[in-house]
């Protein structure tokens, strides 16, 4: 899984590289446009285009029938039944491209969350590091230590939350930097990436998770923790980012879906795709 995440991550990184110094909207528009084109291409290749065209014509025809025979209740019901049937057929035609696209889209969304979901805190601000241990670990008996790279100060002792089997630290950013946070639990040593770039668009990994497949799909930013790890996950609580649209703060996922749909419908004629 890690290799796949790395490969997709590399592609997204290369694509977004030119946009790092720009307003995040630039990267978002580019990715949405690219995705729309890619999806149109996949859709065209994997769907039954003539079947879709024929089904859409039937839908139009049955809609006309409903309009024309609204005084004939039996004919109206018959048209309605046929309309439902062709709608189901239309959905069935969409199933195959959907199944083909769902995997890549999911991988892409997880990667995009790393780029658009969080923002770099400013120097002087603080960040919370949360380390969650496996249930078998007695954290009040652990000898916990945290090492931070230069530019980051470990600003508090560990606060151990016994109920949650979690230990938290507060980190203070003195300068924008990067590196690894090292958590020591006696002999064991675990790392968590920390990245505080000055660029407007940056890849920030909030969570390093264990080898659970679903977790790895959702949080592909870092290599999963080793199998025998005492730690379940390590979280660096970067502040959430929002895209500014005329003063409104928009979640990147909303922007992405709206833009992809706009681009998709805008370009379908140019690509001669029947949707």
């Amino acid at each position: 899984m890690w290799w796949l995440n790395q490969a997709v991550g590399l592609v997204v990184k290369i694509l977004l590289l030119p946009f790092r110094a720009m307003n995040p909207w630039a990267g978002m528009i580019f990715i949405s446009l690219l995705t729309a084109i890619l999806m149109l291409f996949i859709y065209k290749k994997t769907s039954n285009q003539s079947g879709i065209k024929h089904t859409k014509n039937l839908i139009k025809g049955y809609l006309l029938e409903i309009r024309l025979f609204q005084n004939d209740f039996a004919a109206f019901l018959g048209s309605l039944k046929n309309l439902l049937a062709v709608n189901l057929r239309y959905l069935a035609y969409n199933l195959r491209p959907l199944l083909v696209m769902i995997g890549p889209v999911f991988l892409l969304l997880a990667q995009m969350n790393l780029w658009f979901g969080y923002q770099t805190p400013a120097p002087g601000e603080t960040l919370l590091l949360k380390v969650r241990f496996n249930q078998s670990v007695e954290i009040d008996r652990l000898d916990l230590e945290l090492e931070a790279p230069e530019g980051i100060t470990v600003d508090s002792p560990p606060v151990r939350i016994i109920d949650e089997n979690e230990a938290d630290w507060r980190l203070k950013i003195t300068e924008l930097t990067g590196g690894q946070l090292i958590i020591r639990t006696g002999e064991a040593r675990y790392a968590k990436d920390l990245s505080l770039p000055e660029t407007k668009l940056a890849r920030l990994s909030t969570l390093r998770v264990n080898r659970n497949l679903w977790q790895q799909l959702l949080y592909p930013g870092e290599k999963p923790l080793p199998g025998e790890s005492e730690i379940k996950q390590i979280e660096l609580a970067y502040p959430e980012a929002r895209l500014n649209f005329l003063g409104l703060k928009i979640h990147w996922l909303v922007a992405y879906f709206v833009l992809s749909i706009i681009f998709g419908f805008g370009l379908k004629g140019w690509f001669k795709v029947e949707i």
């Binding site: 508090s156 002792p157 560990p158 606060v159 016994i162 938290d168 507060r170 005329l246």
Partner: protein, 666 residues
């Protein structure tokens, strides 16, 4: 080129600005402030007024002499430094209202911090009133208001920035007291003293502890103690919010929070809503947002500070009064409304409660002196940061900027300057004695920043509303009225147990005291159960005034009340009839006691003030004038607050309107 202007309306430029300020305009130019002063008249002269609440001229002169206030000295030597006549009484809301309107309380109707309702003799806040919505629908426990409630500023008279607006002169007025809610204006104004917290109090802190502790929830403020238990290194409690206007009975809203204490280290993690943060012992959190929900989709947001005072052996957590969030104000804070959001966007959350320093927490020993100063230092730093930005954008017209630190620290630390104060402590005085002079030095640094940033065309005025003196002894006015037969209680009453005049026999009572300097007659036709006929008013007030002025403290041989002012003689304007009949002008070191203002009858006539609130300004204005330091020479020998207002208007070439009774100081 001269700006095109219609005869009686807006100039073309203003009209375009107005259009752009509508939703369409905001959509395309989100950074354009709503109805900003941009584009209005460029004035050749600019005026900067620093309002330093309570800056005492005697102490200022002394520190200037000692070369500790070099910038004050520089300003004074370029222009003038004079005592500034304060209001009668010299309380901040009254005094600043004098300055705002250029008249005395008869013209602006603010006579005291506290007024009384003549219908029931109950104390009411003088500055503003909240009125609920008139129409509502009830659905079981749910109340759906059909019209919004209203908050009224009870100050009357026109503010000087409204007069400047008539002449198209831009003004920014930051946190001037007696302006809540801010009066309608196109000028940039931000409300100051009088602005409540989110609960509608003048500041209600919360204190969570497993130690036995009692706190006074004062009239309009104070604090609440929440008993908590530390179970498994975990504390759970709730932060009370405003009352829910959508529910029957308006129950108090609250937000649950949890504290996770580390088993060994003196640190804890606090979580509520989407907030989670770590605090070490003796550490402040910085501003945290908090949201109180009324019904789904309806709620208000505020900001507060957490202070983890102690983790072990006792758990002690202080949560500041919930300030109105300037980025999403639930109550009106500024004109235009966008000004508050504009500031919040630029600087993040900042204190919005009228008087930000939590004096009640210090008084109740929830915060100690060092902790109180740490909080007030945050107030100071925020004020300086915002001022710096305002100065950068100060292109034209007038900028008024207010600091509360001088007032609040003198109230709480005067006991360390006065060896004869009942609460003087030599050991503490060694540590905290320098606080007040250092605060003056801080103000000198503020002035230095101002002088460095303004150009040669800017007139700089530093002013205060009053001075300060020690509050050693408290006078129980209602006890005196009771002893002298002007006030009567129902038979069988025990005076010291009476509160809010609950046992008063109004059918025999001629006078009563409510507020900090006010004495009212129980006047027939005015008070609900008045007995003093109008024909006797003058003679009775004179008789009372004479007796009060003759009162001598047997312990010191000094007069308690220097002057008892008859409001009908010292006030002018349309609101004189609303004024108390007599205003007490206390002698130096004296003030009204803690219990008398709210209709209580303590046993002693004069009490030692052993509280931390040890400096005050309720004396006769002659005892504690304010300060006036101006870069321009002042032509009046005895300037008063309202004269400064007239002076400001004259600096812009404006003819002094008849309602402004002050004479120009320039």
């Amino acid at each position: 080129m001269a700006e095109e202007k219609e005869d009686n309306g807006l100039s073309r430029r203003q009209f375009l600005e107005l259009i752009l300020s509508t939703s369409a305009g905001l959509a395309f130019f989100p950074k354009t402030g709503f109805l900003t002063t941009k584009g209005r008249r460029q004035t050749a002269r600019k005026v900067l007024v620093l309002g330093l609440d309570g800056l005492d001229p005697v102490l200022t002169a002394q520190l200037m002499k000692d070369n500790r206030l070099p910038n004050f000295k520089k300003l004074a030597s370029a222009g003038s430094f004079l005592p500034l006549g304060s209001s009668i009484p010299p309380q901040s809301p009254v005094a600043w209202a004098n300055f705002i309107t250029g008249t005395d309380p008869g013209g602006h109707a603010i006579f005291d911090f506290v007024h009384r309702d003549p219908k029931n003799y109950m104390p009411v806040f003088s500055a503003s009133e909240s009125l609920p919505g008139k129409h509502e629908i009830k659905l079981g426990n749910l109340i759906l208001p059909l019209s919004g409630g209203k908050i009224n500023n009870l100050r009357r008279g026109r503010a000087f920035w409204q007069i400047l607006e008539d002449y198209d002169i831009p003004a920014t007025v930051f946190k001037i007291p007696s302006n809540y809610p801010p009066v309608e204006s196109r000028q940039k104004t931000f409300s100051g003293m009088g602005t409540p917290d989110l609960k509608g109090y003048y500041g209600l802190f919360n204190f969570y502890t497993n130690e036995y502790k009692t706190i006074t929830e004062e009239y309009g403020g104070g604090g609440r103690v929440h008993d908590v238990f530390v179970i498994g290194n975990r504390v759970e409690s709730r932060i009370p919010g405003p009352n829910n206007p959508f529910k029957k009975g308006q129950p108090e809203t609250y937000v649950d929070f949890k504290v996770f204490i580390d088993p060994v280290h003196p640190a804890a993690k606090i979580t509520y809503q989407d907030q989670e943060f770590i605090l070490k012992e003796k550490e402040w959190s910085g501003w945290k947002k908090i949201k109180f929900d009324f019904i789904p989709g309806q709620g208000v947001s505020g900001i507060c500070l957490f202070y983890l005072k102690e983790v072990r052996p006792k758990f002690k957590l202080y949560v500041s009064p919930i300030n109105i969030d300037p980025s999403d104000p639930a109550l009106p804070l500024s004109t235009p409304e966008s000004y508050s959001k504009e500031l919040a966007k630029k600087f993040g959350p900042f204190f919005t409660k009228g008087l930000p320093a939590d004096t009640a927490a210090l008084e109740n020993e929830v915060l100690d002196e060092t902790e109180f100063l740490a909080q007030d230092e945050l107030v100071y730093r925020e004020s300086v940061t915002i001022l710096e930005d305002q100065l950068k954008n100060f292109q034209s017209g007038l900028l008024f900027y207010y600091f509360s630190n001088t007032d609040q620290r003198q109230h709480m630390f005067y006991r360390f300057l006065d060896k004869n104060h009942p609460a003087y402590d030599e050991q503490q005085a060694a540590e905290f004695g320098p606080v007040i002079p250092r605060t003056y030095e801080d103000m000198d640094k503020v002035l230095q920043m101002c002088l460095e940033k303004v150009d040669g065309q800017t007139a700089v005025i530093v002013m205060s509303d009053h001075g300060f003196n020690p509050f050693r002894w408290g006078f129980n006015l209602n006890t005196w009225l009771l002893q002298t037969g002007y006030h009567h209680l129902l038979s069988g009453s025990r005076p010291e147990e009476v509160t809010l005049f609950q046992q008063t026999d109004w059918s025999r009572t001629k006078a009563y005291g409510v507020g900090l300097n006010a004495l009212y007659l129980n006047l027939k036709g005015r008070e609900a159960q008045g007995i003093v006929p109008l024909s006797e008013r003058d003679s009775l007030t004179r008789q009372l005034a004479e007796q009060l002025e003759q009162l001598v403290d047997p312990r010191t041989g000094e007069k308690i009340i220097l002057r008892a002012y008859l409001s009908r003689e010292v006030y002018h304007g349309p609101y004189v009839d609303l004024a108390p009949d007599i205003i007490l002008g206390f002698n130096r070191n004296y003030r009204i006691s803690w219990n008398s203002p709210l209709g209580n009858f303590p046993r002693e006539l004069i009490e030692d003030n052993r509280q931390k609130w040890s400096g005050d300004h309720m004396s006769s204005p002659a005892v504690i004038p304010g300060s006036l330091i101006s870069s321009l020479p002042v032509k009046l020998a005895d300037p008063a607050l309202q004269d400064v207002t007239a002076g400001l208007l004259s600096l812009f070439g404006i003819k002094i309107p008849p309602e402004v009774t002050g004479r120009s100081i320039f």
